[in-house]
């Protein structure tokens, strides 16, 4: 039975499997460590003032991140409002109107590249496009920078979700004489809606933690402002500046912000997943 060849193969197999289990443990080890640190440091620095007070000046005690939370919420909304509609339309073009044309293939290819392009590059792009022209940093520029990150995510998911809609539905509607735009708006969008919403949620999860593009567009602001044409505080940039500072109070605020941010991103991603799952179940 156990010829030398067999033994060599069995040993190789065993070694490979042990290494694979170790690799999985190695990966999980770091991720658990990071999550644990965020949880521990975040919860210990969490308090009500975080959500009710403004960012403190250097060296001062106390304070919160109210203005930063507001700024992040506003700029994320701006990013979604500017980016998602164009993304849905472009995704519709890819799924319904481009059918193997060279233009469609090129758009899909470029969109995939935009999807994983470094966000710092998009930040510099918006800097030269908006900030340099206006002459100052602004929340509007921040929203535009985020919109360029939202765009490819929404294009991709809309494209995929529309292509999942069975072609019988299109054909049935078209054979009744319904014009194509009406088929798209009233049949396809209705059927693909959960998928499109998922895409928008994933985009929201992605932009809420983006730091680099906001460094060159919205920058930061120690004070409360609702003026979209002025620099505005936002959670990621505040975390960045506070974490890099030498002040203990700023460090603990940065941890609290990081904890809230991580929690938010995880909840949104789970929500997106739940929508997909529920939709799958009702369809099966």
């Amino acid at each position: 039975m156990s010829t030398p060849l067999y033994r060599v193969r069995a040993t190789k197999n065993l070694v490979a499997q042990v290494l694979a289990v170790l690799a999985a443990l190695f990966g999980i080890f770091w991720l658990v460590w990071i999550m644990w640190t965020t949880l521990r440091m975040g919860v210990s620095s969490l308090n009500a003032a975080l959500f009710t007070e403004m960012t403190p000046p250097p060296g001062a005690e106390g304070g919160g991140m109210l203005n930063a939370f507001f700024g992040s919420a506003l700029m994320s909304m701006l990013g979604i409002v500017l980016g998602a509609p164009i993304g849905v339309l472009a995704g519709t073009y890819l799924a319904e109107y481009s059918s193997k044309s060279w233009l469609g293939e090129t758009v899909r290819f470029v969109n995939d590249i935009l999807l994983s392009a470094p966000s710092i590059v998009l930040g510099l792009f918006v800097y030269t496009l908006v900030v340099a022209q206006m002459g100052h940093f602004s929340a509007l520029a921040g929203g535009i920078a985020l919109a360029f990150i939202v765009l490819p995510v929404v294009v991709r998911t809309t494209d995929e979700m529309l292509r999942l809609v069975p072609s019988q539905m299109r054909e049935a509607a078209l054979s009744l004489g319904v014009p194509q735009w009406k088929v798209t708006l009233q049949v396809l969008y209705r059927s693909a809606l959960p998928g499109i919403v998922t895409g928008i949620l994933l985009a929201l999860a992605r932009i809420s933690g983006e730091t680099a593009p906001l460094l060159f567009s919205a920058l930061n602001n120690q004070y409360w402002t609702t003026n979209v044409l002025s620099p505005m505080a936002n959670v990621p940039v505040v975390i960045f500046q506070y974490a890099m500072s030498p002040f203990d109070n700023w460090h603990s605020l940065a941890w609290a912000g990081a904890f809230v941010l991580t929690l938010f991103v995880l909840v949104i991603s789970l929500l997106a997943r739940a929508i997909v799952l529920r939709n799958k179940m009702t369809h099966d």
């Binding site: 069995a10 197999n13 490979a16 499997q17 694979a20 289990v21 170790l22 690799a23 999985a24 190695f26 990966g27 770091w30 991720l31 990071i34 640190t37 965020t38 440091m41 993304g87 339309l89 519709t92 073009y93 109107y97 481009s98 233009l103 469609g104 090129t106 758009v107 290819f109 470029v110 995939d112 590249i113 935009l114 994983s116 392009a117 470094p118 966000s119 710092i120 590059v121 510099l124 792009f125 800097y127 030269t128 496009l129 360029f148 765009l151 014009p179 194509q180 735009w181 933690g209 680099a212 460094l215 060159f216 920058l219 990621p236 974490a243 460090h251 990081a258 941010l261 995880l266 991603s269």
Partner: protein
């Protein structure tokens, strides 16, 4: 049975529908073209923003190691070197680990464990990079500085040839740390792509191999991997694209030092970290222009890497008949 009166073609309504159809087609096509334009505009705007630097320093910008805001002399060598070194370290760690994770999740782990662990890894890929950076700075750097780097310096620092890589003051900040943090960030990405493409291998291929008495390792190495090779390479390049362009995770732990050093233990700089650290402090047009020129270089490099990734990933899709 009442016969339905033959419908008279409603010309006005048909024409309105056709008009709306054309408008809608035009609308969605221009949205599609907008995607193309935005990528081209991003490239051109950075070329435009960096024009002063490119005009003054020419192509030598790429291999000059000067970075002097006072003398207005800028060169990209140190950041480019740092970006390449940190990304290489990250991929050297992340690729084998990710392959192991994908192997574990598709062949070894019990069924009930596969979905939750796979989902957890995908969720972790979505954690903002600034969290990785903060953890790196406050938790990993002190641990490495106190416990790991002194040991590395003492044991490997004197070796011939490679000794230079592992010697230096154990600050904790540096290229090695940045590479490690990048690897931790990239692992969820690469492993979830690998897991996904491994799952596309038709069951009958694997079952045939098992039926012939193959071990799990032989199935993965000789059946699954050859079948998915192009997509696996695509996934690796996707991870590389992320490692090259990652900003926040690296900025925290790289040390922001403009010096060319062999040692992985010493602080360095990368393209993204240089831009993030210095952009808001850039006080002259030439300084700012040089930083945007750096961004342009990063854009071109990642564009090439990501194009390769997408072409490789697409090949598997074609084979599946999508």
């Amino acid at each position: 049975m009442n016969a339905i009166a033959p419908t008279v073609p409603d010309d006005a309504r048909d024409r309105a529908d056709i008009r709306t159809d054309n408008h809608f087609r035009w609308l969605v096509t221009s949205a599609g073209v907008f995607v193309l334009v935005s990528l081209a505009a991003a490239a051109l705007s950075m070329l435009w923003g960096g024009r002063e630097a490119f005009q003054k320093f020419g192509i030598g910008f790429l291999w000059s190691d000067q970075w002097d805001a006072v003398q207005q002399q800028f060169g990209a060598l140190v950041p480019i070197y740092g970006t390449l070194v940190t990304a290489t370290i990250a991929m050297l760690i992340a690729v084998p680990i990710s392959f192991g994770i994908a192997f574990f999740l598709t062949e070894i782990a019990p069924k009930w464990l596969r979905t939750p662990v796979g989902a957890a890894i995908e969720l972790l890929a979505g954690i903002p990079s600034i969290i990785y950076g903060m953890w790196g700075l406050f938790v990993l750097v002190p641990v490495l500085a106190e416990h790991v780097y002194p040991w590395v310096d003492a044991n490997f620092g004197q070796l011939p040839v490679i000794g230079k890589l592992f010697s230096g003051p154990p600050l904790g900040l540096g290229m090695g740390t940045a590479g490690l943090v990048l690897a931790i960030m990239v692992i969820p990405f690469v492993s979830s792509v690998m897991r996904e493409v491994f799952l596309t291998v038709p069951g009958r291929l694997k079952e045939s191999a098992y039926a012939l008495g193959s071990t799990r390792w032989e199935v993965v190495w000789d059946v699954v991997l050859p079948y998915t090779r192009s997509a696996v390479i695509g996934g690796i390049f996707l991870g590389l694209g992320r490692a090259l362009g990652e900003t926040m995770a690296v900025t925290f732990v790289l040390g922001n030092a403009h010096s060319l050093t062999m040692s992985l233990l010493e602080p360095g700089n990368s393209i993204a970290a240089t831009i993030a650290n210095e952009f808001t402090e850039a006080d002259s047009d030439m300084y700012r222009s040089s930083l945007i020129a750096l961004g342009f270089v990063l854009f071109i490099v990642t564009f090439i890497v990501l194009s390769i990734a997408r072409l490789m990933l697409r090949r598997l899709n074609k084979r599946e008949g999508n």
